[in-house]
């Protein structure tokens, strides 16, 4: 980049006199790392933002609190199992996630709007698009960051359970296997929840609306699934496989049911599980449709900005 001669002259004069009063404008000759680097940078920044890093102290409170609340019971459970010399954890890895799923939903509801609505609200989105990244790069980075943030959130308690059990002398093989089941469940929750949460957050510049809508969709849907399940059980108290189809009504029961069926974790008919091979196919297909559909809708949402 060529500078006008006067600018260069200033610079030389300053250097000659040995005193720098005002170093003039310096051009940048270094590398420009382009689109994929910029996308990665946006991913890292968004992941940090999901935990309030690089933002005000206040915004760190909720994500850190949820992380703590989700991790602490794992410590207690592991401690109990060791003290009671149990052969097994009282709560299995995937079950831990479904038992505390409310906190995962709270994290999603609070932080998905941080990633999406803030950029819309403060009209930062056009600034991103005036730089090398494309609209799909933007969605990809945000989605990746949300999935990673959720994954981190759910991996912490699972690791606590696993490391605790191994150190406490619980069976290695069984724990390793079930820890991996837990990770698969966490990945499914992370991907499905992130897709739904970000889509809702991207549809409104108002953070409050985003929070309420995400909570609403996920909590209400699981309540409805619960009601339908109980209605299907009937008065006899006998749980029919057909009642398990109620799980398709809610994202959380969907993942829970699929994981329990695939890994054979449903010990009694009351445990949520996908009914048979058909159930596995339907549940998996529904998750895939929800994820791909939400992602596609997000892409088309940002195509218009």
């Amino acid at each position: 980049m060529s500078l006008p001669p006067e600018a260069t002259a200033h610079r030389t004069a300053a250097a000659d006199s040995g005193v720098i009063h005002n170093i003039g404008y310096r051009s940048y000759q270094g590398p420009r790392l382009g689109r994929s680097y910029a996308t990665r940078s946006l991913f890292v920044q968004s992941l940090r933002a999901a935990y309030g890093l690089g933002r005000s102290g206040k915004s760190k409170v909720l994500p850190m609190l949820v992380l703590g609340v989700l991790g602490a019971p794992a410590l207690v459970i592991v401690a109990l199992a060791i003290l009671q010399h149990s052969k097994q954890l009282p709560l299995d890895y995937p079950q831990y996630l479904s038992a505390f799923s409310l906190f995962v939903v709270i994290f999603l509801a609070a932080q998905a709007p941080v990633l999406m609505s803030r950029d819309l609200r403060h009209q930062t989105v056009p600034l991103y698009f005036s730089r090398p990244i494309t609209r799909s790069d933007y969605v990809r980075a945000k989605f990746g960051a949300m999935v990673a943030a959720m994954m981190l959130l759910m991996t912490v308690p699972l690791v606590v359970l696993y490391v605790g059990s191994i150190l406490g002398g619980l069976p290695f093989g069984h724990n390793t296997g079930h820890f991996l089941y837990g990770l698969v469940a966490a990945a499914l929750y992370a991907v499905l929840y992130s897709a739904l949460g970000l889509l809702i957050a991207a549809s409104t510049p108002r953070r409050g609306f985003g929070v309420a809508a995400i909570m609403g969709v996920l909590v209400v849907s699981s309540i409805i699934a619960g009601i339908v399940f109980n209605l299907s059980v009937g008065s006899g108290g006998q749980v029919l496989d057909s009642a398990q189809w109620s799980a398709v009504l809610s994202p959380s029961t969907l993942v829970d049911g699929l994981v329990n069926q695939i890994f054979g974790l449903a010990e009694n008919p009351n445990t949520t599980h996908a009914p048979g091979a058909l159930g596995v196919v339907v549940f998996a297909a529904e998750i895939a449709v929800l994820v791909v559909g939400s992602y596609w809708l997000m892409l088309s949402r940002y195509r218009k900005i």
């Binding site: 500078l3 382009g34 690089g54 009209q123 056009p126 005036s130 730089r131 090398p132």
Partner: protein, 348 residues
């Protein structure tokens, strides 16, 4: 970099379902500070979006820094800075944090991004306050941060959309001086849009005027104003002789003195200012005739008058009123019209 033409468009047209935002726009912009002037809705922001490669043109072609807008959008956006018209700063983040992030988004490695951010914020005049959250900034400070994020990756061209919006007169002057420096000291070409025409006369080397998506005029700022130094003169009637045509007499005497005089309206004469003596000549002439001087004011053709020369609401205006030629030789549609008065569309 040795690009002689910064922006070049050829027959650029953008149609939305209901409106035609740009209509056969052919323009060429050389390095320097270029003003893009137009009323609200004239197509300025649409043009910027197309130049950034963010929105495809319906027809026509264009190049920015020699790169094709249709196919090389990412490469253009790496070399171009953009300052939007609207507010775009998250309030809970500091200026430093924000500009570093934007530098990285432009492809700068982390260390370079931090260094360039410190430099750039200093150049735009932001010091200790850069560590505070931007929510507490004044409009002037926010505009500086917006400019800084457009400059931080050392682009070859910056597109500034209404950078003086919302600033008080002092802030506006500061911003205009800063824009001038972006080219003169930093060597970065500038395309600045505004609907306030007056302020660009001082800042820009070249003006491009668009209206209703069409090019009205593209020429150097000097050619807009050079022949427009005029003196408006209004005199009283003769105190005793009512039949005496005061205007005609003044006009005759001044023409005799070698000045060009044109009547403007019923009572005003427009006298070309040749040098400082013109004022004395006018004063002496009027005094000699025994008349009173009602008005003696300097008047310039404002760039605003370009707007009054074409009815903006007319979609069927004749083709010759729409010059397609570019550069300093562009057809001047308003040449024949003398000063239409201090009729500044933009300032109102």
């Amino acid at each position: 970099m040795n690009v002689s033409t910064v922006i070049k468009t050829d027959g650029l047209t953008k149609r939305f379902p209901r409106v035609t935002a740009l209509d056969q726009l052919t323009v060429e912009v050389q390095p320097g500070v270029v003003g893009l002037v137009g009323a609200n809705g004239a197509g300025k922001s649409t043009l910027i979006k197309i130049l950034l490669g963010l929105s495809p043109a319906t027809s026509g072609t264009g190049q920015v820094l020699g790169l094709d807008i249709a196919t090389e959008g990412p490469a253009i956006r790496e070399r171009v800075g953009y300052m939007p018209e609207h507010d775009c700063l998250p309030p809970d983040v500091s200026a430093t944090e924000f500009v570093v992030h934007m530098a990285r988004m432009a492809g700068l490695p982390a260390a370079a991004a931090r260094e360039r951010t410190a430099d750039t914020l200093r150049h735009v005049g932001l010091y200790e306050e850069r560590y505070r959250p931007m929510g507490g900034y004044s409009t002037g400070m926010k505009q500086r941060v917006k400019l800084a994020q457009a400059l931080v990756h050392d682009p070859q061209l910056v597109l500034l959309d209404e950078p003086t919006n919302g600033l008080d007169p002092v802030g506006r002057d500061d911003m205009l001086a800063l824009i001038r420096r972006v080219y003169s000291d930093f060597g970065i070409s500038v395309l600045v849009t505004t609907h306030l025409l007056g302020e660009l006369e001082r800042t820009c080397d070249h003006l491009v005027v668009i209206d209703g998506g069409r090019l009205l005029r593209s020429s150097s700022t000097a050619s807009f104003t050079e022949m427009t130094q005029l003196l408006a003169v209004e005199v009283t009637d003769h105190p005793t002789d009512l039949a005496f045509d005061a205007d005609a007499a003044v006009r005759a005497r001044l023409t005799e003195a070698g000045l060009s005089v044109v009547p403007d309206g019923s009572r005003v004469l427009l006298v070309e200012i040749r040098d400082e003596d013109t004022y004395d000549t006018v004063r002496d002439t009027v005094a000699d005739l025994g008349l009173g001087l009602v008005r003696l004011e300097q008047r310039r053709h404002r760039v605003a008058e370009i707007f009054t020369s074409d009815a903006p609401d007319d979609a069927t205006r004749p083709d010759e009123a729409r010059p397609e030629a570019t550069g300093p030789e562009a057809t001047r549609t308003d040449e024949a019209r003398e000063a239409g008065g201090a009729h500044d569309v933009a300032a109102s």
